[in-house]
Point group: C2
Chain length 182, copies 2
């Protein structure tokens, strides 16, 4: 989504000071700048894939409460934050790309009901990589995933978080057609 | 620091929805709202001490990169963020309380030099509970702690983070003279 002229090269990233690094990468995991702060120790980053892998490793090392905390830091799809204009710019773009800003009244109602059921069953919101899915697939995925166990949904949600992170990184860092690995 | 009329009771905290909880407690660990997001699962909180303990347990369960990330999320004392007015309101109050907004030119220079030495030796900034110390003690503490090992300073820094967190919680939650446990 970012214009390619703005993409950072690995050399530019490795020359950033800490504050700049956090300004640029602090929200690749939604509202969890601690993840970028943690991987700062793994510089130099040879490419975007390596940076992504270090972030994923950190997420995987968190205790379960931390994984849940990451999921809780995500907004509901087409939820209150969206309708009140309180989404981060990344979430806003992603939800629009999936067609979630363009739901029928019936779809919006269904989504809200299932979001509530999901959150009350699992203790965190439903998270899916919106840019890799369209609204019909998202609604169907939510319906299906409501049947899973808490443990399975914690893992599934974090897998989606890592995909979201990867796409956000590709919007920020120079790369060579590696999006297809998702 | 917060007027006592604004202090939340445990019952009020346990009745908060998630967004309100994060609005209120998201910065008790500086710039690391993930910590509050993680402990949401441990409601109900019977008192401020219990809430603090759950946050400390979460911090202790983080891998070393996460502990370092927490320290990196703290500003330098009397550093660039302070001089540019970019501190969080909590940090600003704490640094003022320690007399760090009122350094002589010589003290400011010494502190900046030692902050730089500390950060380049350890890979994270010097963190101390400013409200529990005055500027002379802070300068002396920094000088001494520069001699420690990286592992010792990671633990020492996180111990200070937990004290800062406790005092921030006491500014937010009703309590009965338990500040002395620090």
């Amino acid at each position: 989504m970012a214009p390619s002229s703005k993409l950072k090269t690995p050399a530019q990233i490795n020359n950033m000071d800490y504050e700049e690094f956090i300004d640029v990468f602090g929200n690749v995991i939604e509202h969890c700048s601690l993840c970028a702060a943690a991987v700062w120790r793994y510089r130099p980053f040879k490419d975007v894939k390596y940076l992504h892998e270090e972030i994923c490793k950190f997420v995987d090392q968190l205790p379960p409460a931390g994984g849940e905390g990451i999921l809780r830091s995500h907004p509901d799809l087409a939820g209150r934050a969206a309708s009140e204009g309180l989404l981060t710019k990344e979430s806003n773009q992603e939800q629009r790309a999936a067609g979630l800003s363009d739901l029928t009244q019936e779809e919006r109602k269904q989504l809200a009901q299932m979001n509530d059921m999901y959150r009350s069953k699992f203790g965190f919101p439903f998270v899916i990589c919106a840019r890799k899915n369209k609204k019909d697939v998202i609604l169907e995925g939510l319906r299906t995933r409501l049947n899973n166990s808490q443990e399975a949904e914690l893992q599934k949600g974090l897998t989606e978080v890592k995909k979201i992170c990867y796409l956000r990184l590709l919007d920020l860092v120079e790369h060579d057609g590696i999006e297809s690995r998702l």
